[in-house]
Symmetry: C2
Subunit: 332 residues, 2 copies
Amino acid sequence: MKLSSKNLETRLDTLYDAIVVGGGMGGISAAIYLARYGLKCLIVEKGKGRSFWMQDLRNYVGLDPHTPGRDILKDGTEQAIAWGADHLRGYVEEAIDEGETFAVRVKVGKKDPTGSVFRSKYLIAASGIIDVLPQLDNMQNVYDYAGYTLHVCMICDGFDMWDQKAVLIAGTEGQINAAFVLNWFTPYISVLTHGLCSVSDAMKQKLADHGYPLYEAAIARFLGENHQLSGVELVDGTIVEATTGLVSMGSIYHNQYLKGIQGLEWDGENLITNNMAQTSHPRIFALGDLKQGLNQVSIAVADGTLAATQIWRNIRRASPPRKWEENLLATR
Amino acid sequence: MKLSSKNLETRLDTLYDAIVVGGGMGGISAAIYLARYGLKCLIVEKGKGRSFWMQDLRNYVGLDPHTPGRDILKDGTEQAIAWGADHLRGYVEEAIDEGETFAVRVKVGKKDPTGSVFRSKYLIAASGIIDVLPQLDNMQNVYDYAGYTLHVCMICDGFDMWDQKAVLIAGTEGQINAAFVLNWFTPYISVLTHGLCSVSDAMKQKLADHGYPLYEAAIARFLGENHQLSGVELVDGTIVEATTGLVSMGSIYHNQYLKGIQGLEWDGENLITNNMAQTSHPRIFALGDLKQGLNQVSIAVADGTLAATQIWRNIRRASPPRKWEENLLATR
C-alpha cells in the first residue's frame, strides 16, 4: 500500500518483518522478494537518489538501454506495492535497536517536526550514496550536463567517453588518480581541480608525463548545448575544450541513521557484509552502494535478492511448520 | 557481430579477451560489460537454457513481471552485439587451458563433426543448469504445465502457489525435504515420487505428521487445460487434486567442458568462486547457477558484472597507460 501522512497511522502498530531504508534499485529488489516471500515490509524512500538521475541505464540486462532511471524506479515501486509491500515517501532520521525490533523514525513531509515511528524485525540499509558535483553559483548549469555527457561513474559510462576530449574534475589529489583509470577509455584528459585542492609536485610531474594538462582555477561554467558538453570555462577566462567529463569528487553516504547502532562493522563509510548482504549486526542488511564493492545497479539488485532471502530463511526457520490440518484430523 | 557457420572462420584467428560459455542472463550481462569496457568477447550459446523457458520473470526489478524469458534473452543478446560482442549459436564441447590462453572447441550445427576452435585469455562459465522434469511417454503433457503452474523454483514462484493444493514431485528421498520449505507457501502438499525412489519409514512418518499424503506410483499424466493444472493422474488410476506443483528433481549441470581443467575447485557440481565471481583458476570465472549460491536471475546478472569488471581490471593493469601524445610532443 502507498502510505502518506494521510494514512500512515494505520501502520504505526504494525510490526514489519523488514523496513527497507531507500527505494532505489536495491531497495525495490529487496521489497519485491520480501513481498513475494509473503513478508510484511515497508520501503521508506526520500526521493531523488542516484538512479533517479540516470538518463540511461546502459548495462543492466533486460532493459532498453535508453530507459531513464526514474521510469524503472516508478515501475519497480508499483510492482513491489502490487505484490504487497508498503511504500512511504519520507526521510529516515534515526533507527534504534530495541533488541528484538528496530524503531525507525521517519520524517514525512515538512509539517512533521518529530516524525513517525515504525517498527520491524529486520532493517535493510539501501539508502545509498549521492555523488558530489562541482558547486557553481548557477547549479542549473551543472545539471544541464550531469548524467548526459558529464558522468559520475566510469564503469557505467566510460565506454561513452571513448577517445573523446574529457575533463576530469577532482576535489582532492587522491581523486586525480582516476585519470590513470579513465585513460583506458580516452587519453585526452584535462584535469580540473575547481580550486579545491593543492596538487603536489609529484602528481604534477605524473600528469605531465602522461600529457594530461592540469587546470587549478575554479570552474566558471560548463559550455555546450542540449546537454552536449563542448568545453569548460574557468574563472580566469581559460576555456578547456571537452565533449565529455567525469566528476571524481567522492560521494555523500546516506547512513547517518545507522551511526548510533552498536555492533556494525564499517570500512570507512561502507558497511562490511557477508555473502548474503548481512552486516556484522545479524538483523541489519546493507545493499549496493552502502556496502563494500562495485556501485552498480545489477549488484544492488542482487544484494536485495540475497538480503530478502536470508531474512525469509531466518523467519521461516523460526516459525512452526504449516501442517495440512484436515488430513491430520482424518488420520487421528 | 552475429556469427554462424557461414562467417565464423573470420574469427578463428582472433584472440578474444574472454569467451563466455552460455548466453543466458549472466552470460549476456558479462558480455555487455565486457563490450562496454572495450574488450573483445564471444558468447557461445547452445540455446534453450533455463531462462528461455520462463513464462514470466516476476522478481527482477525493471521488467514488466509478465515478460517472458525468451524476450529478455533476445533483447539482451542484441544489446550485447550492438556494443560490440560476438555471438555464436553452438555447443562448447571442450575448453583446453593452454597456459596463457584457452582453446574452446565449439560444435556449430549438425554438419560440423569436429567443431571449430576459438581462443581467449579468459573464460567465463555461464552455461548454467537445466531442471530435471518428470519423464513421461508424452513429454508435451509436461511442457504444457512446466513454467506455467508447474514450477521448478520455489524462490521464484512460491508466492504464486500460496495456499493452493500443490503436488511436490521428488526423485529422491532427499528431494522430498523440499516439502518442509514449500509449506511456508502452502500446507496443502501431496508428495509424488513418480516411482523413482523408495521412501524410508522415518520420512513417511514425518510426512504423515505434517498431513502431507505420499503417492509412490508413477505419474501417468498431468490434468488441466490452458496450462492451468487441475490434478495429476497416476498409473494406478489415482487422481491427485492440485492446481499447482513444484518439481524438485535436481538439475543437470552444463559443466562437462570444464572437467579436464586443472586447478578448479568444485563443491559437487558447483564451482567455488570469490567475491568477484572468480574461480580458484585465476583466468576462469563462473556465474549464476554454475557457482554456489542462489539460482536467481538477479544473482547471475550481478555475477556477470563482477566477472567482466575483474577481467577488465586485470587486462587494464597489465596494459601500458595511454598518454596524450600530442601534449607530450609539445612539452618535450
